[in-house]
């Protein structure tokens, strides 16, 4: 923008910067707590650096769980979910966006119910299904229920509808089959929606605890949240914020790095996304 800086514009800058700083305060204090000695209350000494700074919280948090395995498992889990989701939401999204068939609205409604029913209340039946499939205590078990995504289907349905239908017709006249139409017409034009979906899918599954915890027992298949959970369970001692913050920061670090690296791309790719 080449607009001159008016006082209103400066005020707006100041406002959003102030808000953003306020928003960052919890993160700032979380980092601070993670480097302060355990049980060193914020009132002790200098409010910022306390008596001393230490890595002890990170070291004790690291001892609690087999973190390298948990990191690997979380990556496998979120990637394994996302890759399959990309296929299922593309197919279902296209069908609901562009094809006419009896029962379309009913079937869409059924799919959308998934967003409304909290998975946490269906644990027993879903556990039984996983056992019947012979998947108990495997990484596949953690992924399966998420392979179909109502959120993604809705998002892609929306995005595909934005694509001018003439492009599909033109491609068909050129003799393109469905897969080619998807590959050369729909998918390139809706990449932003895929990116948006990936962001949502990765961050929510990265932080998922209950379901992976219920269907796995071995540490060598369990994700990060199970390791993090160990740091929360200190009810016989009291709250140990330092260690807890250290663990939380360790767990979200990859997500934060991912976001910072791709943040420009995320936002820009949203620009032409279907959800505008």
């Amino acid at each position: 923008m080449t607009r001159r800086r008016t006082w209103a514009s400066r005020l707006a800058d100041a406002a959003i910067i102030t808000v953003s700083i306020i928003w960052m305060l919890p993160l700032f204090f979380a980092i601070l707590m993670s480097f302060r000695p355990q049980r060193d209350p914020i009132t002790n000494g200098n409010i910022f650096f306390g008596s001393t700074l230490t890595l002890a919280n990170y070291m004790s948090a690291w001892e609690v769980a087999p973190w390298p395995a948990h990191y690997a498992n979380s990556i496998i889990f979120v990637v394994g979910v996302l890759v399959v989701q990309v296929f299922t939401i593309t197919m279902a999204g296209y069908a609901f966006a562009r094809l006419r068939f009896p029962g379309r609205n009913l079937l869409l409604g059924i799919v959308l119910l998934q967003m409304m029913i909290p998975t946490g209340v269906l644990l027993v039946q879903n556990f039984a299904t996983i056992r019947t499939l012979g998947l108990y205590d495997t990484q596949i078990a953690m992924m399966v229920p998420y392979w179909g995504s109502a959120f993604g289907t809705l998002l892609m349905r929306q995005a595909f509808r934005e694509v001018p239908y003439e492009l599909e017709e033109a491609a068909r006249i050129d003799g393109a089959n469905w897969a080619q139409i998807m590959r050369h017409v729909y998918i390139p034009l809706t990449i932003p929606s895929y990116v948006a979906f990936a962001l949502v899918s990765i961050s929510s599954h990265w932080n998922e605890f209950l379901w992976p915890f219920i269907v796995t027992r071995s540490a060598h298949v369990q994700p990060l949240t199970v390791g993090l959970n160990k740091l929360y369970q200190t009810s016989d001692v009291g709250a140990l914020y330092g260690q807890l913050m250290a663990g939380t920061l360790m767990v979200i670090a990859p997500l934060v790095i991912l976001f910072i690296l791709f943040q420009r791309r995320f936002i820009e790719s949203f620009a032409s996304s279907g959800i505008k």
Partner: protein, 440 residues
């Protein structure tokens, strides 16, 4: 179509699994593998410690493999086991669950009483009596059958700041013995404008029942007696306990109104915001590490029910070892060996020293490891000796629901949300009674 292909891949995965899964099972023909589920409620490398115990046990017991499996909090553990068994799975062979889970686990048919294994021991009497009675009282049902063995146990104690006692002209070796002294000392120790509180009872929050119970017991009527089918909530003793807890904040002004939160009270104590606190012995290790003053530990002050010990009110808490019903008799035999190993004086002593839990049997305290600990930190001995006068922790049939009712009622009274104490307790008692009606 993609769908077909995805299906084909899925079948591929399934086929591979179908081959792999039975392999794992059949190869374990002559070794017995025990799944041992454990929650954690303290910090530290618990998984490593238990893994070491398992290795030590396996070396001593060839043919038995122990597989320690972390299952979250106590609540998570219960949910994991419940989901697994209701969903058609087998569940663990041994698990650490709350001592107070006894009646719900028994009613579900999830566990078998360990009594049957104790009976086969050479000297059952000697084994059982080595455990503190106040802990065993939560292991038995109405008929006296033992269902579980104490493992990681705790009890609330009074912590006090000896430096502040000196400063206020109090004897640092003499913690308050009864409620009058508690109030008197706390008043002397309190500084104006919330600069320092004489006392913090860590009773605010969603689980007030534990410390609430200690005040009720000290009034002479526990929330539960021998029968798990009868709960005593709407009693003058409970009303008085609640009034006293409220008075501590609003009349005597020696603690923040409504008490303080469970998680932060130890830190408030070590940072000098409170001169005395009620908390669990589980936090002793971390309090000793973090306090830059002399830490005193005392029994919970006795209530009006008497000075000679009857007015003491100390529940116990923590987890016991349960053996599961879905296991084969051979697995159960092996499980019993593992339970005995974990409950052995040596392991109890080592576990206590490493975690801060209070070793559950007397002989454990004669081991070098705990003798040295007590020599260095006599505070641990106070918690141990208090076990002699401790009472039964609250449990009953439908314990989860009844506890929810009591917690909700007590927390809304303490928060000042309900001021009609008698009515609130009467309503809660009516709900509890209707829940327990079928057990009468």
């Amino acid at each position: 179509m993609f769908s077909r292909d995805v299906c084909r891949r899925l079948y591929g995965v399934l086929a591979v699994l179908a081959v792999l899964v039975p392999l794992g099972v059949t190869s374990a023909q002559d070794t017995i593998t025990l799944d041992f589920y454990y929650p954690t409620a303290v910090d530290g490398p618990i998984a490593q410690i238990l893994e070491e115990y398992a290795q030590q046990f396996e070396a001593e017991n060839p043919g038995i493999d122990v597989n320690p499996i972390y299952t979250g909090s106590y609540v998570d553990t219960r949910q994991a086991i419940q989901t697994e068994i209701q969903g058609g799975g087998t569940g663990p062979d041994v698990a650490v669950m709350l001592a107070t889970d006894i009646f719900s686990l028994a009613e579900e048919g999830y566990v078998v009483p360990v009594q049957q294994f104790i009976d086969q021991m050479e000297d059952p009497e000697a084994f059982v009596s080595d455990f503190y009675e106040s802990l065993m009282v939560n292991s038995v049902d109405e008929e006296g059958t033992i269902w579980s063995i104490p493992f990681q146990r705790s009890t609330p104690i009074l912590y006090y700041n000896k430096d502040m006692f000196r400063e206020a002209g109090l004897d640092p070796e003499q913690p308050p013995r009864n409620r009058d002294e508690l109030v008197e000392y706390a008043q002397k120790l309190t500084l104006p404008n919330g600069e320092r509180w004489g006392l913090m009872v860590a009773i605010a929050g969603d689980f007030p029942i534990w410390l609430f119970q200690s005040f009720v017991m000290a009034n002479g009527q526990n929330l539960v007696e021998e029968s798990p089918a009868k709960v005593y909530l709407n009693t003058p003793e409970a009303v008085d306990a609640l009034k006293f807890l409220i008075d501590l904040g609003s009349t005597y002004r020696v603690q923040p109104e409504g008490g303080t939160s469970w998680g932060d009270t130890p830190t408030a104590f070590t940072s000098g915001q409170a001169a005395m606190i009620y908390h669990t012995v589980g936090s002793l290790t971390s309090i000793l590490q973090n306090a830059d003053f002399e830490v005193g530990v005392g029994y919970l002050p006795s209530g009006p029910a008497g000075e000679d010990g009857t007015g003491y009110g100390t529940p116990t808490g923590g987890g016991n070892l349960y053996i599961f019903a879905n296991s084969t008799p051979e697995e159960q035999e092996a499980a019993w060996k593992w339970v005995q190993f974990l409950a052995s004086p040596e392991i109890q002593a080592d576990w206590g020293a490493k975690t801060g839990y209070i070793a559950a049997r007397r002989s454990a305290w004669e081991t070098d490891i705990l003798q040295e600990l007590v020599a260095q930190y006599p505070q641990y001995a106070v918690a141990r000796d208090q076990l002699e006068i401790a009472g039964k922790e609250f449990t009953s049939y439908r314990a989860i629901d009844v506890q929810n009712i009591i917690n909700n009622t007590v927390s809304s009274i303490l928060a000042g949300e309900r001021t009609d104490i008698e009515t609130a307790l009467a309503e809660a008692q009516a709900q509890i009674d209707s829940l327990l009606a079928e057990y009468q």
